[in-house]
Amino acid sequence: MKFDVAIVGAGPAGLAAAYRLASSGFKVVVLERGREPGAKELYGGRIYAYWLDKYLPEFRKDAPVDRWVRKERVSFLTEDKALTVELAITQKEKTSFVVPLVSFVSWLSKLVQGAGAKIVTEVTVDALVKDEKGKITGVRSGSDVLQAEYVIDAEGVNRLLLERAGIVKKLEPELVAVGVKEVLKFENKKVLEERLGLDEDEGLAWALAGYPTEYLPGGGFIYTYKDSLALGVVVYLKNWEKLKTPVYDLIEKFRLHPYIAPLVKGATLQEYGGHMTPVAGINMSPPRYYYDGLLIVGDAAGFLLHTGVLIRGVDFAIASGVLAAEAIKEARSPSAEDLAIYEKKLRESFVLQQLEKFRSADRLLGDESLFRDLTLLSTEAAYRYFNIDHNQRTMFEAVREASKKTRVSVLKTMINMIRMLRSL
């Protein structure tokens, strides 16, 4: 049986492509190695809605949403202090939401099946199949070969298939971080809401720098699901040597930090996982996004934008999947020449425009002193400002004292803040 399109990976990118293609009458198969779509997926917790309105408007009607994010928090955290900034939206705004990725993907896969595409689970694709001219003509799983006119690689960050096909080199530690995550469940969702100061349908997205990663690049995160929360740390692979604590202990140290522990006490652990995330964005993209018979979407293509605080993966994945589908619909043949329209579409869309714009974010965020300096200086300065003893300090005095105590240069910090303002 020959398919028009074979898609590797039932994640947001692969399923979005499948949905678009199947809706237009293409014979589509999605191959997923997990027991169900989403079984191998893990992310922070939040999905941005703005671009989904353009690329997958169906989601507004019935996609699962645990909570719409109306509170954004950013904290600098040290052993004994935390300085937190919170943005709260009091209108019932719906611009990003928190939901377990597996729930969202499960909904998306039903949409895909409804459109007539076939999702085959428990199939691990081992390689892309090429003909003698180098054109990708299908995929191989064990000794089975499945032929397709077009193949979409949506295999995710590990991209073994692209590596085996000679398209990308093995991932370097500089390009990726590892996220470690716990899902902590509350018996009563009111407890979760009261502790985090949320209304019953409100969600919180929280990024924390400093202590969670021993002041190294990366940080901690908390997202509130319906009656549970996602808590985790993200560590750049390139910095592992400077870590004093293995990542599996780092996350527990973060959970048990005196600022965090009271929020999660009594919650039971529902799931524990880890996943790599492409921190280098476009800097880890393959040389091209299209080859003879092949298109590359989602994490495998490096389509993840992160600015330290804001991390966008799912909306980029979905947009790239949709654009790949549109490219196949318009292409006259599966030749690279015809599929070049995919890159054109990516360039015309927010996907490559935004990734280009934040291209240098990676270098700044990977700067070891950045998080350390900002965290130490800001928490210490705030402490000195608020802590009245024999002397009440001006803000300037508080910062100067903090600089002396932490040995962090105010000037250097200010320069870094300007760099942040410009590139993050």
């Binding site: 990725l101 597996v102 689970t121 428990e122 199939v123 716990e182 799931e271």
Partner: protein, 96 residues
């Protein structure tokens, strides 16, 4: 206040998975490389503590692997062979 430290074993026990006992999806290609590897980043960076140092050697247990792929990338000697587990095997995320 229950401020219990969840051991890594307790945490991994919360997960669901189906272990492929016949064909582990990760192998150490060359244990001698691990023996001479001074830094052994796998022992630090694997979220599931699959890599444990015993003497100079590394003992790898793939059963509770969360399939992030970090070990392969962080290994400075390219000593780790990493595959996707076959046919539905491995971890099964349900709540993340």
């Amino acid at each position: 206040m229950s401020l219990k430290y969840f051991t890594i074993e307790e945490r991994l026990n919360a997960n669901a998975w189906d272990v492929d006992i016949h064909r582990p999806h990760i192998k150490i290609k060359d244990p001698d490389k691990c023996r001479t590897c001074e830094k052994k980043p796998c022992t630090y960076m694997c979220p599931a503590k699959c890599y444990v140092q015993q003497g100079d050697y590394i003992v790898l247990s793939t059963e509770a692997c969360v399939e992030c792929g970090t070990c392969r990338v962080v290994c400075p000697h390219g000593a780790i062979e990493w595959n996707y587990p076959r046919s539905g095997m491995g971890i099964w995320y349900r709540f993340t």
